[in-house]
């Protein structure tokens, strides 16, 4: 496959040069180091693997989004008149499974983490490049199993696979679906191992721990969760498959087992998993806000310790998903107070981002709009989490649309906004192209408006008592549902727009220099796109991160 048009001369140049020297010159970038499909599928270059992930997760994002579209369309009317009950149950299951495991969890770590981690610490690649490629293949394999389950007729257990419904009553392709998630879990574990070792062992000279960009701290904390929590999910899903296939009744009360054991095991993983989704987003926010305020982050060490604290405390709050499950009320109290505790480091981060703006020099490029939107929406999501941590209130709100609104504020208003912010911030670095800032800012605003219109009414619906996973509902919930579905239409437009102008930029966008944002960070020292070996010479680090001088703020 050969590119046409104005690429031709460069290809010719490279061939001529290649004939005169035996190797590919260091200055050629990673995108041009091979144009065949096989060169991409066999590459152990972390940058190429990041692009492979980016393409895959984008496909899954729109698949999960298609399911969401159908869900919101059904919910426009109180009656269940668009799809059958079975189909609706399969839709919300696939929406959850795809969005959680095939989009949100890998999104920032596997794309931006992979691409940026070696660059940010001044390394030539991750510690284990072949393991990195293996991670991507595991992701694809897991995806194939899950898509297979979908094509074969779908799964209707909900993404939470509660027993005994999933083990003994569902007539859908549960084993295929849990196998897919099991496999993709190993993709996460290996990525986590890779990142931890890379951060510990491969930092450039002078890059001490407290000179690391906060994005790297976020990757580190996320990787701890990957390594310690994901195996628990893997084995729990394995137990579902075994019980379904062999009838071993570990979760079946009729055989002496305990369905609540499943919930404890599942949520022991799935609560830390939500921190996997948000910590990278927080890392992104810190990178963007500092750059577009031309100012160092407020209280760097607090920010670094906060991500570690969130990761660690996040392991002991899982029971807040089970306040009405039949678990003891004393356990409920312990989990409630710990959940309040995990909100403290999160709050610290929100305050610190806000304080970073103070006396900065603020620019409103698209990445900054996404980052600021992230801070606001994450605040709403986080505060509503406290409503749910309050025991007596949760008894009412559990399993209602309030919970759905809460976690979508964090995962979509938070994580997806930050992901889009990252796309817009590092796009020039990754592709070497600039995109239309006007369209990008417009899309950011459309996303923000559409998001709030979609999900804010759901807080109200939840308190009014509308339960989750209902395809038909009493007529008094109609107005709020219509608002929410209207918002979803706007949100969809906001998500589709970047596909257009970003793709356009690949062909027609102006070429980017090494540092179009004038940002600090080692990744901005090298060319856009970077050469295969990342740096011609490994940089030596002498200054703290975000060393934006006051002079340029005061006198600019």
């Amino acid at each position: 496959m050969h590119p046409r048009g104005r690429f031709d001369e460069r290809v010719l140049d490279r061939r001529v040069h290649a004939m005169s020297t035996a190797s590919v010159p260091l200055r050629s970038n990673y995108l041009e180091a091979g144009f065949s499909l096989w060169s991409w599928l066999s590459s152990v270059d972390h940058k190429r693997i990041a692009v492979l992930y980016a393409i895959s997760i984008t496909l899954f994002f729109f698949a999960g989004g298609a399911a969401a579209t159908l869900i919101r369309l059904e919910l426009v009317t109180p009656a269940g008149d668009l799809v059958s009950a079975e189909t609706y149950n399969k839709l919300f299951t696939m929406h959850g499974v795809i969005m959680v495991w095939f989009f949100l969890i890998p999104s920032i770590p596997s794309t931006f983490g992979n691409f940026l981690l070696p660059l940010m610490i001044g390394a030539r690649d991750l510690a284990f490049p072949r393991l990195n490629l293996a991670s991507w293949y595991l992701y694809v394999l897991g995806g194939l199993f899950t898509v297979g389950a979908l094509v074969a007729g779908g799964v209707d257990t909900g993404w939470t696979f509660y027993t005994p419904f999933s083990t003994m009553f569902s007539n859908t392709h549960v084993i295929a679906a849990v196998t897919g998630v099991f496999v993709v879990g190993f993709s996460s574990i290996l990525t986590g191992v890779n990142f931890i070792v890379t951060i510990h062992r491969m930092r450039a000279p002078g890059m001490t721990w407290f000179r690391l960009p906060l994005f790297v701290w976020a990757m580190y904390a996320t990787s701890i969760i990957f390594v310690l929590a994901t195996p628990v999910l893997a084995m729990t899903l394995f137990l579902i498959a075994i019980e379904r296939f062999f009838g071993v009744g570990v979760f079946d009360p009729a055989l002496g087992g305990d369905p609540l054991l499943f919930q404890h095991l599942f949520w022991f993983y799935s609560h830390p998993a939500v921190y996997v989704m948000i910590l990278p987003a927080m890392g992104v926010a810190s990178e963007i806000i500092t750059c577009f305020s031309r100012k160092s982050i407020f209280a760097y060490r607090s920010m670094a310790f906060a991500v570690l604290a969130i990761a660690i405390i996040g392991f002991v709050v899982w029971g807040h998903h089970m306040f009405v499950s039949g678990q003891s009320i004393y356990a409920g109290m312990v989990f409630s107070i710990l959940t309040f505790l995990v909100a403290i480091p999160s709050a610290i981060k929100v305050f610190n981002w806000t304080a970073t703006l103070y006396k900065g020099s603020i620019r409103f490029d698209a990445p900054m709009l996404y980052a600021l939107g992230f801070v606001g929406l994450f605040t709403v999501g986080g505060m509503t989490g406290l409503f749910l941590a309050s025991l007596a209130l949760d008894v009412h709100l559990h399993d209602t649309y309030f919970v759905i609104a809460h976690f979508h504020y964090i995962m979509v208003g938070g994580a997806v906004m930050a992901f889009l912010g990252a796309v817009h911030f590092w796009w020039p670095k990754i592709t070497g192209r600039l995109y239309s800032d006007w369209w990008a800012r417009a899309a950011a605003i459309v996303v923000f408006v559409g998001f709030n219109l979609t999900f804010f009414p759901q807080f109200l619906l939840g308190y009014l008592g509308m339960p989750r996973r209902y395809h038909a509902y009493p007529p008094e919930f109609a107005v709020l549902n219509v608002l929410s579905s209207a918002g979803a239409a706007v949100l969809a437009i906001g998500y589709l727009l970047p596909l257009v102008y970003l793709a356009w930029s690949l062909r027609y966008g102006a070429r980017a220099g090494p540092n179009p944002w004038d940002a600090k960070g080692l990744e901005w020292l090298t060319a856009s796109p970077p050469p295969v070996e990342n740096f011609t010479t490994i940089p030596v680090v002498t200054e703290p991160p975000y060393a934006y001088g006051e002079a340029e703020r005061v006198h600019d």
Binding site: D125, I189, I196, M202, M235, I242, F245, G256
Partner: protein, 213 residues
């Protein structure tokens, strides 16, 4: 003497490469502990609910074969440790012998396990396939054996992977791949093998020795 270590392009030097591999295997082993941890937790919870059933069921296991297997596995950890040491000291022949011994012992373990599984199948103690235990606490006994096959099965899978690793190491050692300067794969393989051994050390009393004292 110049170093014969090949340093991958992402590393500065062989030291960094070795340290990275070291840390990597330990982090991976941590994930394995969490992986097995789920099964141990499921076992513990179920046993707390069915203490007599577990005692009855445990007496149905073959403690003789299980104990032999424990000895076999412990010995294989010894031979593995000796293999690592021999490699570090550059005694290639001894290293190959010890690696092969480890693999042999591992095969013996798997064979004995297979024999136990066959006995259990004949005796009708395999839930989901052939379970015909009719004594008291049958329900709890069935749960025990479900967990028994699950836990030992996952362990055996890890053993088989370990056999592959040790076998590969033996072949590479025969081809002079390892020197006193470069023996990282042997060390990593050794750590993995020891983990699989330690898991068995916990499985053995929980599965074979309930109320046999």
């Amino acid at each position: 003497m110049t170093s014969s270590v090949i340093v991958a392009r992402q590393f500065d030097d062989s030291d960094q490469q070795r340290q990275a591999a070291d840390l990597g295997i330990w982090v991976f082993l941590a994930s394995e502990i969490l992986f097995f941890g789920v099964l141990f937790l499921a076992y513990t919870v179920t046993r707390l609910h069915h203490p007599e059933a577990f005692a009855t069921a445990s007496r149905q296991t073959d403690v003789a074969l299980g104990s032999i297997n424990t000895g076999v596995l412990l010995t294989s950890s010894l031979t593995m440790a000796l293999a690592v040491r021999a490699t570090k000291l550059g005694v290639r022949r001894a290293a190959i012998v010890f690696l092969c011994a480890t693999a042999m012992l591992g095969l013996v373990f798997v064979a004995i396990k297979g024999t136990e599984y066959r006995h259990d199948y004949v005796a009708g103690l395999v839930p989901g396939l052939r379970f015909s235990f009719a004594g008291p606490h049958a329900g709890g006994v069935e749960l025990f054996f479900g967990l028994y096959f699950l836990m030992t099965g996952v362990h055996v899978l890890h053993m088989l992977v370990g056999l592959g690793v040790v076998g590969t190491l033996a072949m590479r050692a025969a081809r002079k791949a390892f020197t006193p300067e470069y023996f990282t794969p042997v060390e990593l393989g050794g750590l993995y093998w020891h983990l699989v051994d330690i898991v068995w050390i916990f499985l053995y009393p929980l599965l074979y020795l309930v109320s046999r004292t």
